[in-house]
């Protein structure tokens, strides 16, 4: 047995890979409804490609207009009048927005003048003397390239932080004058991580153990959340017209989405893994839910995705042929549903931009909970803004059929059951694990049991997984397998072409018994795979 490190020194060893058959990948499937590229890899590519290139890519491929065009090709001439109608309205919108912008520019200038003098002196006093604020482990700031405050976590009024924002903007622009980009600053335990996305700058100031690339990933999510609210085309257009625009006007009411997202990322391993968790259901129940949706919505033109979710877990997803959904987009949908109590009160008709699907435009979403007695939320996403009533009718039918088929009960049962626990696997020394299947971008983890049932401990566990993930994916020296013996637990991380596995064991578990346990675990996942994962990729 490897001896425990003396103080914080971890005993890290690379171990021989446990033996599994080369094609043994529990939960694997030849078809996937999710885009399966690894989000960290994608991030690296994005960071390396120049901004212009990305812009080009974005402007030439608009998925939404592609779908609309396709549909226009096949529509009967009757519809042309309504098309024209649409175009007219869109023109109006553009004009309206233009006039709004010119109006706002006046007011925002006034705001700026009024604010400039008194605020500067307040800043340091109020911002830095507040002990709570300084104690926070992670801050996130968003500002425009011109240095205007957009958002700050843990702080109500960004105006009072105007000098801090000024420093951040100065740092970015000083480095930019040398034709370079600032990525991070390291000072003691603190990391200052910068992400520059077109007209806006995102900064994370963190004293956590997260790596720079993980912090960049989080900032990218925050940026995508903003795009999801405004679309990238609107965002860019605004700043092209008014460099000095106060974006908080347009983001009013959406700060809570960013707040929620940041908290969400501190609890949920889904973001780190770039994968989605499914609600465990008997395959026959899941199939019948999926079939009900296909039968009811199959004939509705323009419907791109039907997504049913409960408790941050996916129940089913039906998609238009040819189109896939990216886990990032799905995470943003989970975040939206989670942070919007108002969806529970009534049917909503909500514009949603899915940044990975098409960052330039909105999909229109019919969003509603299945019923008062079932906490599952159904989203029907379309490119057609005039089909609310069609979708509303479809939703009623779906609910009736599901109720008739006892599917609502089955969903409730699965939601209310605490979920599988690690002990059910039958490996007593194993406390918790994350299993991600690469070919489907889905993951599974058991319910958090003692000692991880308290927030502090569960966040510590996620921190350990993050560190392990970072070590395994380190660009300079990627690892396949890692066995870490720490003070409070033993961790094992293992990456193959088919899956990623992160396991937390009791502290004194040897490499040998960990390897045996992992083999047992994989066999258990294989046995349960059709309940834990969605193994097909249904289309309309």
């Amino acid at each position: 047995m490897a001896s425990k490190g003396l103080c914080e020194e971890h005993n890290v060893t690379e171990t021989e890979e446990p033996y599994v058959a080369p094609d043994f990948e529990p939960g694997a499937s030849l078809e996937s409804m999710l885009v399966t590229t690894d989000s960290l890899e994608e991030l690296e590519q994005e960071m390396d490609s120049s901004f212009d290139e990305r812009q080009m890519k974005e402007s030439t491929t608009s998925t939404i207009s592609e779908i609309q065009e396709e549909i226009n090709d096949t529509t009967v001439p009757d519809d042309s009048s309504s098309d024209q109608d649409n175009k007219l309205i869109e023109n109006d919108e553009v004009e309206e927005l233009g006039s709004q912008l010119s109006e706002t520019s006046l007011t925002s200038n006034e705001d700026c003048n009024a604010a400039a003098t008194p605020v500067g002196s307040l800043t340091e006093e109020e911002g830095c003397q507040n002990p709570d604020w300084k104690e926070r482990k992670k801050h996130v700031f968003i500002l425009s390239a011109a240095g205007k405050p957009i958002y700050s976590r843990w702080y109500g009024n960004e105006d009072k932080l105007v000098t801090i924002f000024g420093v951040m903007q100065a740092l970015v622009s000083v480095v930019q004058t040398n034709q370079d980009t600032i990525r991070s600053i390291h000072a003691g335990n603190s990391k200052f991580v910068f992400l520059i996305k077109g007209p806006i700058i995102l900064v994370s100031v963190s004293r956590t153990t997260e790596s720079v690339s993980q912090l960049v990933l989080q900032l990218t999510y925050v940026y995508n959340q903003i795009v999801s609210v405004l679309t990238s085309s609107q965002l860019n257009r605004i700043y092209e017209q008014r460099r000095n625009y106060d974006l908080r006007r347009l983001l009013a009411g959406a700060e809570r989405l960013i707040d929620h997202l940041l908290n969400f990322m501190e609890k949920e391993p889904a973001f780190l893994l770039g994968a989605v968790k499914c609600l465990p259901l008997t395959p026959s129940v899941r199939d019948s839910i999926t079939q009900t949706i296909i039968q009811t919505c199959g004939k509705i033109k323009n419907l791109v995705f039907a997504i049913l979710l409960a408790n941050n877990q996916l129940i089913t997803l039906v998609r238009m042929k040819k189109y896939f959904i990216h886990p990032v987009d799905l995470h943003l949908i989970f975040n939206l549903v989670n942070s919007s109590e108002s969806f529970k009160a009534a049917e909503s008709w909500t514009p949603i931009c899915l940044p990975k699907f098409d960052s330039s435009g909105f999909l229109h979403g019919h969003v509603s909970y299945l019923s008062d007695d079932c906490e599952a939320c159904l989203l029907l996403l379309t490119v057609d803004r005039d089909v609310f009533f069609t979708l509303s009718e479809a939703k009623q039918k779906i609910v009736e059929k599901l109720r008739h088929g006892n599917c609502l009960e089955a969903i409730n049962e699965s939601v209310n059951r605490a979920g599988y626990t690690a002990s059910q696997v039958g490996v007593p020394e194993m406390r918790h694990f994350l299993y991600k299947c690469m070919s489907t971008a889905q993951f599974w983890s058991p319910a958090l049991e003692p000692p991880y049932h308290v927030t502090e401990e569960s966040e510590r566990l996620l921190g350990l997984y993050q560190a392990l993930h970072h070590r395994l994916h380190a660009a300079s020296r990627p690892l396949k397998l890692l066995h870490q013996q720490l003070d409070k637990e033993t961790l094992l991380g293992w990456i193959t072409s088919g899956f990623e596995l992160y396991v937390a064991f009791e502290p004194l578990v040897t490499k040998h018994s960990a390897t045996n346990a992992v083999n047992k675990l994989l066999r258990w996942i294989k046995k349960e795979e059709d309940r834990l994962f969605i193994l097909n990729a249904p289309t309309f």
């Binding site: 009534a346 049917e347 909503s348 514009p351």
Partner: protein, 230 residues
């Protein structure tokens, strides 16, 4: 029995209490924890005024600036509008006027207009006087109401008077987008519906209320003003 079916749009600046009003009326509840509406929410409710059944399709819109460009989708073919402001925030009163102007520009058909000053429970912080608001409502040919979604005051009046306004509108037969059902057979609507009124979407969240014109609470002078078209 005659049934008429009308589309109502609820407009106004963010945070004035549009959703709270609708939820108070239709859901008979008030929550301190509702989140801002994203896009718009759809409700239906039915009321009976004397011998006419009125079905209301209520579009509760989001007040945030970024949804402004989507508003036409909701007020297109609307038969009535509730334009809400917060009596403690003068700028929401100004914003309300902008909404009225936008409606007057873009909605050609006659429409029942109601101006609602919400949050009367915060009377001590009032910034918009009843007189000023009433005068404005008069000038645009609308009715003025004050309400408190928190204390459930004045909200029934708003919807009831809107329903009565719709009945009058249907009698004028000037309005082509208002749906009027035949008396005996409600299953085959005599419809001349416009775009966007495809079905009535009977949801589980329906309020159903019986009223008669005589006994209803139309005691306030400002309520009984005939709806004038914009």
């Amino acid at each position: 029995m005659r049934t008429i079916e009308g589309k109502i749009v609820v407009l106004g600046a963010q945070g004035v209490g549009k959703t709270s009003m609708v939820l108070r009326y239709i859901g008979k509840m008030f929550s301190h924890h509702i989140s801002p509406t994203i896009g718009a929410s759809f409700f239906t409710c039915k009321l009976t005024v004397q011998d006419t059944r009125v079905k209301l399709q209520v579009w509760d819109t989001a007040g945030q600036e970024r949804f402004r460009s989507m508003a036409p989708m909701y007020y297109r073919n609307a038969n009535a509008a509730l334009i809400v402001f917060d009596i403690t925030q003068y700028d929401t009163f100004q914003a309300m006027k902008d909404w009225v102007k936008e409606l007057q520009r873009n909605v050609l058909e006659s429409m029942v207009l109601s101006v609602v000053g919400n949050k009367t429970d915060l009377e001590s912080q009032r910034k918009v006087t009843r007189e000023e608001a009433m005068q404005y409502a008069d000038s645009i040919g609308g009715s003025y109401f004050e309400s408190s979604a928190l204390h459930d005051e004045g909200i029934e009046d708003v919807f009831l008077s809107t329903a009565i306004g719709l009945i009058r509108l249907s009698q004028d037969s000037l309005c082509s987008s208002l749906r009027i059902y035949d008396s005996s057979d409600p299953s085959s609507p005599v419809s001349n519906a416009g775009v966007g009124q495809l079905c009535d979407g009977d949801t589980s969240r329906e309020g159903q209320t019986q009223y008669s014109l005589q006994t209803s609470s139309l005691a306030h002078g400002e309520v009984e003003r005939s709806p004038v078209c914009c």
